[in-house]
């Protein structure tokens, strides 16, 4: 897979989105793209000589067809959000991680989802529903 470093204006756009939505910029990382995927990497600069990377660092999200940025499910544990954090019950968190949509009334937009103990996902609320974005291979069906 071909990973490319993103340019300054592409990175700024993502950080502007993160700041506006969550009150936090992620500027300590290298930003890379692979097709429509956006990855952040906290290691040193790599020229990828002699490498065949399957992934580079942490998958932060994707850039949609209209140029909008969509968070990955796991982005919640890397963005240290100061706002737009939605606290749910553990039961709701289990249901989300098993692949179910989450019904929560409120304003539309991206939220980071957490329980009392920690973050478990990211989701976009549209008309009171968070459509599930947990990849099928990552779903946990047999929760305690």
């Amino acid at each position: 897979m071909r990973f490319e470093y993103m340019n300054v204006s592409e990175v700024r756009k993502i950080n502007d989105f993160l700041e506006k939505r969550f009150g936090e910029r992620l500027e300590q990382y290298y930003y890379l793209k692979q097709k429509d995927g956006v990855w952040v990497f906290s290691g040193g600069y790599e020229d990828f000589k002699n490498l065949r990377p399957g992934f580079v660092g942490f998958r932060l999200g994707t850039i949609g067809k209209k140029g909008d940025f969509r968070l990955s499910q796991e982005a919640a544990i890397i963005v240290k959000a100061k706002k737009n954090v939605l606290e749910t019950s553990e039961e709701e968190a289990r249901s989300w991680l098993a692949g179910k949509d989450l019904q929560k009334e409120g304003v539309d937009g991206w939220f980071l989802l957490k329980t009392r103990t920690g973050f478990f996902g990211a989701g976009k609320r549209v008309q009171g529903v968070f459509r599930n974005i947990v990849p099928k291979r990552s779903r946990v069906m047999a929760f305690f």
């Binding site: 906290s42 290691g43 040193g44 490498l51 992934f55 942490f58 796991e74 890397i78 991680l97 305690f144």
Partner: protein, 295 residues
């Protein structure tokens, strides 16, 4: 019936009861992911849910699970990346490697990622880890664990370890080589049925190539850890002897609170005595072999 070759190994190791020892049930362990939570906080959260945990004597982040109300991987806290289900012995190689933030580290046989994520944790997710494995599905498994644990300094590299060409690029290298797995026999008692001198011989050829690749990738003055979860001498001290012939020197692995046995010298270089063997009876954990080498 015990195979003659296995009997010979038991005699050589001075453990006539080795087979029973390897087959007995062992406790399960978890490793706190210090990138996301402190051990005391994790303990408190899990104990509220009916777990009983006991701290491992030789590190600050591992717990022996004395009681759990469910499968260890089926909890919200696991999905949140707060801990990794990992045998205590398997936590030794990254501990022995002792990586620092900002170093460049190669993990040559990385999937599923228990040791990779532990190395990342010890590096505070700074510096670079090249986590290598040879099948796309293994890289996908690795990615899932890296994402879950927020190990953002890992590059998953798709390549056959023994054919990878790195030249003196890394400060630290971990070669956790594929092996006959005698030390993990408690999980699969059939391992003894497939274990034989010819299965060992087959793997030794691969292990030698992997160890050579790892050693060539190491900068001068760098440190490499070679480990397996087996107890055959050829797969362990035999490989280390080969690396000594390539110019490696063995450093003694001293971990306070961990009971270990010295390497078996046979007709090898006496330095192999500085390697570390762990038998299940020693620490109530899987059988393991760990060697720390300097270039």
């Amino acid at each position: 019936m015990t195979k003659p070759a296995f009997k010979k190994l038991c005699q050589e190791l001075g453990c006539p009861e080795l087979l029973l020892d390897l087959k007995r049930e062992l406790p399960q362990y978890i490793r706190t992911n210090l990138l996301l939570i402190a051990p005391e906080k994790l303990k408190k959260i899990l104990e509220k849910k009916g777990w009983v945990l006991e701290k491992i004597a030789w590190n600050d982040y591992g717990f022996k699970v004395l009681k759990a109300p469910c499968k260890l991987g089926n909890t919200l806290e696991h999905a949140m990346g707060f801990y990794y289900v990992q045998d205590a012995s398997s936590m030794i190689p990254p501990h022995a490697l002792n990586p620092s933030p900002d170093e460049r580290v190669l993990d040559l046989c990385a999937s599923p990622g228990s040791k990779t994520t532990q190395i990342s944790m010890l590096m505070k997710a700074r510096g670079t880890i090249i986590a290598n494995d040879y099948l796309p599905k293994k890289i996908v498994t690795l990615l899932r664990n890296v994402q879950r644990c927020r190990a953002a300094n890992v590059i998953g590299n798709l390549s056959r370890g023994e054919k990878t060409v790195f030249r003196e690029e890394f400060d630290k290298v971990l070669v956790d080589a594929p092996c006959t797995g005698l030390g993990a026999m408690h999980k699969d008692p059939k391992i003894i049925e497939t274990w034989s001198p010819s299965s060992v011989k087959k793997l030794v050829a691969k292990q030698k190539k992997l160890a050579e690749t790892g050693f060539n990738a190491l900068k001068k003055g760098g440190v490499m850890v070679y480990s397996t979860c087996t107890l055959s001498v050829e797969e362990n001290e035999g490989i280390i002897n080969h690396l000594i012939n390539m110019g490696a020197s063995v450093e003694k692995t001293m971990i306070k609170g961990l009971k270990t046995r010295p390497g078996i010298i046979r007709n090898y270089d006496p330095q192999v005595r500085k390697c570390v063997r762990i038998h299940p009876a020693d620490n109530d954990s899987e059988g393991f072999f760990v060697a720390r080498l300097k270039k």
